[in-house]
Amino acid sequence: MSLLTLNSSATKAREGKHWFARTPHEMPETEETGKTVATIESLSRRRKLRSLLMNCVVVVSACVVVIPVISIFWTALTRGIAQLSPYFLTHNMRGIVGGTYPYGGIFHAISGTVEITGVTMLICAPLGIFAAIYINEYARRSRLSRLVVSAVNIMSGIPSILAGLFAYALFSLLSGVGTINGFVGVVALAVLALPTVIKTSLEAVSRVPDTLRESALALGASRSVMIRKVVLRTALPGLVSAVILAIARIIGETAPLMIAAGIVDNTNFNLFSGRMMTLPAYIYNEYSQGLATCPTAHVASLMPCDPQIRIERAWAAALVLILLVAVFNAVGHWVARRSMAGSRHS
């Protein structure tokens, strides 16, 4: 729309008809007024051209950003919806053979992802927020906090596969070579989540204006009361986003979990023993196996078989993963909004 209107006004400018020169009934131009209008017009034409160009750039870059997002959602939705059913959400892959019915489900992967991500955040959220509080409130310019900040910066650059290898190697030393379980996955993800939590909560905490800290102290608050009742409360929405961002960072991690938590068909709730499936690992595992084998047509008429089933399951799982992230986001924002003053009672 704006492009169109701009275009038309640019054309009008080219015709030499300015808003201040144009009248409902065209006036004949004298020599002199024509001249001044012409110089102003050339200036204004350049300006309009530039504004048109800027508009194009803005619209194009907005599209470049938005189109892939919409396209990802759309693809996941259209391709994933077919297999998405209560059955799919409540069953695992135990005893599922080839492409033959029944097709199996992702319950084991959902429970694994929720458990591993949840426990990771239970560890990282308090740890990261305490670190941010320490750095910002107790040791603003100390050597230790500078050290922590640079460690965080380095840590946030660690490739995720390395985090997986680290956790695997650590537990091979601690509890025997080849230890693979949910908790090893938790440790791998914690390495990835912690820098995000620290960085983002540090930002949130340092955005709290110093005048609020001073006001609290001037009202006789001790330092710890000031931090608990003013700094943390004021920074809460930012702290919630820190946690959400960290969840978003780790929930789609695949490689470290394949190394540390493994791939398995059955449901396992025990973090500390046995492999644990997760959604990204499930998606990769299904997709990488390609077409499923089906019996000959004669048998297939008795029992349904879908050679594309692995791909369909992968897309359905991807859709669930996206929805899971959306739910985390919604819950986080709801918590943040609820905690603000005023909305509690009204």
Binding site: S215, A218, L219, R233, A341, G342, H345, S346
Partner: protein, 260 residues
């Protein structure tokens, strides 16, 4: 009738190696308004913040000398700075209600910070009393649970005053409390200060000579000899006398310069 509320002797204040004020001696009378005037950077805010021990919250900052509140040394070793601040409240230049708190919670925040019980009706009474004292009750009584930051600047500043007096302090320190406000809000705060002086000793820093003349009974003029030098107290006296015939020539030139 005017016993001295605050007695300041030989006060020096430092920021690390930099001395901001030098050798201030002053008696601040009870239940009156004392105005601090002087050019920017002469240490008015610094001095004000030594009066409730807020100065020491800045890294490297320290104070020498003595300040007594009704004979009790504020810098005595055994004394907790938080206790001093409960008795000497402070209002800042920019209105700053706590954004995470409702109007009600803002008023009660000081009590909560000090673990003073203010649940239920007792809390309601304190809220109403403090907001009435701050001339804000009628404007906010229907939205006590709405955020404090939703108020206008002038209302926010009166909320900050209510928050400070909810702790029933003896002294109220105000550092240019109107400089961020429009003339009408400024007027409301000035009226309020005149009412509050019945019950509180008030010390106010202001850049506005007319304001000092309107609301204060005592005026203290601070100056500094050169930039980088510490500020000092030039003279202090009854506001009327200070504005009509000051003792020191620099006071005269500062006041008349400001009047234009």
């Amino acid at each position: 009738m005017n016993e001295n509320e605050l007695t300041i002797r030989n006060l020096n204040a430092y920021y690390g190696g930099f001395q901001a004020i030098s050798n201030v001696n002053m008696n601040i009378p009870a239940k009156e308004v004392t105005a601090f005037i002087g050019p920017s950077g002469c240490g008015k805010s610094t001095f004000l913040r030594t009066l409730n021990r807020m100065h020491e919250e800045i890294e490297g900052a320290r104070v020498e000398g003595s300040i007594e509140l009704e004979g009790q040394d504020l810098y005595a070793h055994a004394l907790n700075p938080a206790a001093v601040r409960r008795h000497i409240g402070m209002v800042f230049q920019h209105p700053n209600p706590f954004p995470s708190m409702s109007i009600r919670d803002n008023v009660l925040s000081g009590l909560r910070f000090n673990s003073i019980s203010c649940k239920g009706e007792a809390g309601d009474d304190i809220v109403e009393w403090a907001l009435r004292s701050a001339n804000l009750w009628d404007e906010v009584k229907d939205r006590l649970n709405k955020p404090g930051v939703g108020l206008s600047g002038g209302q926010q500043q009166r909320l900050c005053i209510a928050r400070a007096i909810a702790l029933k302090p003896e002294v109220l320190l105000m550092d240019e409390p109107c400089s961020a406000l429009d003339p009408i809000s400024t007027r409301a705060i000035e009226d309020l200060i005149l009412e509050l002086k019945q019950s509180y000793t008030i010390v106010i820093v202001t850049h506005n000579m007319q304001q000092a003349a309107r609301i204060s009974q005592k005026t203290a003029f601070f100056n500094l000899t050169a930039v980088g030098e510490p500020g000092h107290l030039v003279e202090m006296g009854d506001t009327e006398a200070m504005f009509s015939h000051p003792n020191m020539p620099q006071t005269k030139s500062y006041i008349s310069g400001q009047f234009g």
